[in-house]
Assembly symmetry: C2
């Protein structure tokens, strides 16, 4: 009759510590302290630091991947899709500010992780989006563009400003609140830019 209390507490604590400090910077003892639980329990439930880390990473990825997948594969017009993605993604990240940096960082540290992730269900499927874009181009509704490039534009404009927040705050010399307002504005800013680019003018 085990209740998952301890196991979950550990995962929650590990999430906080790993996402703030990364695999290399995190300490098992710190995770134990954060959870208010004996360090041996981390090994009892998760065996090793690496396994615990993978549990955290998988959970993080399976939180963010559907967020991308959902909108990208919805059966709605392209322009609406772009607007919806931007709005919901920015809202999502405001709630999980450590996530993008965590994912990007660890994916760069261990390139093999991507191979593991690709095999999991729920991994974003790009094909639907590609054919939608190709269709629109073919019908002459939008300017010729590779779906890949559009996809990269979309994610870059949405994700990078959060990743590079410290950098931009420094460059632009603005404070946290001011930056947050900029991010809010970007929902429409990004949408407009992309749509404006895709639209064919007379």
């Amino acid at each position: 009759m085990k209740d998952e209390k301890t196991e979950d507490q550990i995962l929650d604590a590990a999430e906080k510590v790993f996402q703030r400090k990364g695999m290399d910077g995190a300490r098992m003892q710190e995770i134990a302290n954060e959870a208010g639980i004996n360090k041996a329990m981390l090994h009892y439930y998760y065996r090793s630091k690496r396994f615990l880390f993978e549990a955290v990473f998988s959970k993080a990825f399976s939180l963010i991947a559907p967020e991308i997948n959902r909108v990208i594969n919805e059966d709605i017009p392209l322009f609406e899709k772009i607007r919806k993605f931007t709005h919901s993604y920015i809202d999502f990240i405001q709630k999980h500010p450590y996530l993008p940096n965590f994912i990007i960082q660890e994916l760069n540290r261990d390139q093999d992780f991507m191979n593991v992730l690709q095999k999991k269900k729920g991994f974003p499927d790009f094909r639907n989006f590609r054919s939608q874009v190709e269709q629109e181009v073919h019908e002459g509704n939008i300017r010729p563009i590779k779906a890949e490039q559009l996809f990269i534009h979309l994610l870059s404009l949405n994700i990078f400003p959060f990743l590079a927040a410290p950098l931009f705050k420094g460059f632009l010399n603005i404070d946290d609140n001011c930056y947050k307002e900029l991010m809010e504005e970007r929902k429409e800013e990004i949408t407009n830019m992309i749509i404006n680019y895709l639209e064919i003018k007379e």
Copy 2:
């Protein structure tokens, strides 16, 4: 009559290791091995891991900052500036692929670093760019846009695809060469998108 041979060898080795593994993942012994030099020498010349790291980080930043600064503050028309920045930045990063991730990562790890950097000479100055954009908007040459947003667009579109290369390769399911071609195409792709957005249509 000291020649700087050893000191430089250490810095070069430290650069490689720190940029690949980050502050926490790097080992002093590994840096020593990479340099083919006794570990004690690292402390002899750089005192501690932290100081050595800061030397590497400062050098990295002082490599990339002028790259941004130079084009952004050049006295040329805005559209030309955007094209030039994109082309030269992408070329630059192809030569230093570890740089963006290194900078972003360590800036997120230690927010204080930005304060130190801001005080150094050569730190990018955004004001010139801002007034240029404001001027163009005022004269009705481009659509109304905050200079900050344009700046964020520009950097996001240019930098993120390199940071998130493993992610995109996974999502799009393409190999290294194919991805490199996409990056090459982006020089014009990004330029066109931004300029197209800024241009006022009838």
